[in-house]
């Protein structure tokens, strides 16, 4: 008997997709936030660049959202 017949592989695939797809953006957003705070800590005037930091958060976030959107395609 094949594994695919015994187990619902779609659920495993969805789980892997969410886990693998979200770990990258999570690390990326963490790095962006960390770097921003570090920059502010070194030079408090850098706090005005929060807008720029948020742009990069949005760019990174897109890849997580793509992974989230594609779990609806897996059947």
């Amino acid at each position: 008997m094949f594994l695919a017949e015994a187990v619902n592989t779609a659920i495993i695939a969805k789980g892997l997709m969410i886990g693998g797809g979200f770990i990258g953006p999570a690390i990326g957003i963490g790095l962006i936030g960390g770097s921003y705070l570090q920059a502010v800590g070194r030079n408090p005037e850098a706090s005005k660049f929060l807008g720029q930091a948020l742009i990069f958060v949005a760019i990174v976030e897109l890849f997580g959202l793509l992974a989230f959107a594609s779990i609806f395609i897996v059947k």
Binding site: L54, I55, E61, L66, F68
Partner: protein, 284 residues
């Protein structure tokens, strides 16, 4: 009794429609629920902003007008500071302010309880957020990028001059040619990335709110509230990011083409110019 109430709420899974639902059909054209809501929001925005524009004074008395004024000022500063030449930047302020407020109000009004699964006509919800539909965001993306391309071609003076800004150096160099072609290709993906980002953020926000309202069953307002608040933030952030990215795309092309004339002076005409300068100095 409580259990029956619980099963009533918990019986159906969370249902969120991602695809736009068919609404009315006029002369062979289907009016989907998302475009219907887009029109409603657009008309509401026109009326609201005409009302605001009539009441703008030098000494604001407070209220909602002040917030709109602050928003317009914010975007104006954002656009003009992105361009090297402030006069060029001023020309494109109205478009980007409109873009920002259109996306912002579509996102925010899309979170109202009347929009979505609450009110249905037949199987489909009566109204859906315009930005929660890929057709809508793709249309916004295409229009924005069309404006950006037309404006950058016009500002850089001719199509060939515009194409030149893709290349770091002379296109005769094979490496620069390859990099330039790659740059052109990544330029084409901007429409897709802009529209997908907005669409996915809004739709997934809806899905998350739907899932947590379902999980909360009879305490649905309480469990969905934090995500609702987060979505308010995300909606504003996405409107801001869409505007900033399109401003950047335009500003890069325009500033770059202005820089290129400088490069030209420095690299090719530099030697003769310095010679001239030196000779004029020597003679003077």
């Amino acid at each position: 009794m409580l259990s029956s109430v619980l099963t009533k709420f918990g019986a159906e899974g969370p249902s969120v429609h991602v695809a736009p639902g068919k609404g009315i059909e006029i002369a062979g054209l289907t009016i989907t629920n998302s475009i219907l809501y887009g029109w409603i929001v657009a008309v509401a925005l026109i009326i609201f902003f005409t009302w605001v524009a009539r009441r703008v004074t030098v000494h604001p008395k407070g209220g909602v007008i002040q917030y709109i004024e602050a928003g317009v000022d914010f975007i104006t500063n954002l656009v003009t500071s992105a361009f090297d030449d402030k006069k060029v930047g001023r020309k494109y302020v109205p478009f980007f302010v409109t873009l920002f407020f259109f996306i912002l109000f579509n996102n925010w009004l899309g979170l109202l309880p009347i929009v979505g699964e609450g009110f249905k006509s037949g199987e489909n919800p009566l109204l859906r957020p315009f930005t929660g539909d890929l057709n809508g965001t793709f249309a916004i993306g295409v229009v924005t990028m069309a404006v950006v391309y037309v404006a950058s071609v016009r500002e850089s003076g001719g199509f060939l001059n515009y194409l030149r800004h893709f290349f770091v150096g002379s296109p005769k160099n094979p490496l620069f040619l390859l990099i330039g072609l790659l740059e052109m290709f990544t330029d084409l993906t901007r429409v897709l990335s802009l529209s997908l980002r907005l669409f996915l953020n809004i739709t997934i926000g809806e899905i998350v709110i739907g899932v947590f309202a379902y999980l909360g069953s009879f305490m649905a307002p309480l469990t969905a509230l934090p995500f609702y608040m987060m979505e308010l933030l995300v909606a504003a952030l996405q409107a801001y990011i869409f505007t900033v990215l399109s401003v950047m795309y335009l500003a890069i092309a325009v500033n770059h083409s202005q820089d290129h004339s400088h490069d030209h002076d420095l690299t090719e005409d530099n030697s003769s110019e310095t010679m001239k300068l030196a000779s004029s100095k020597a003679s003077g």
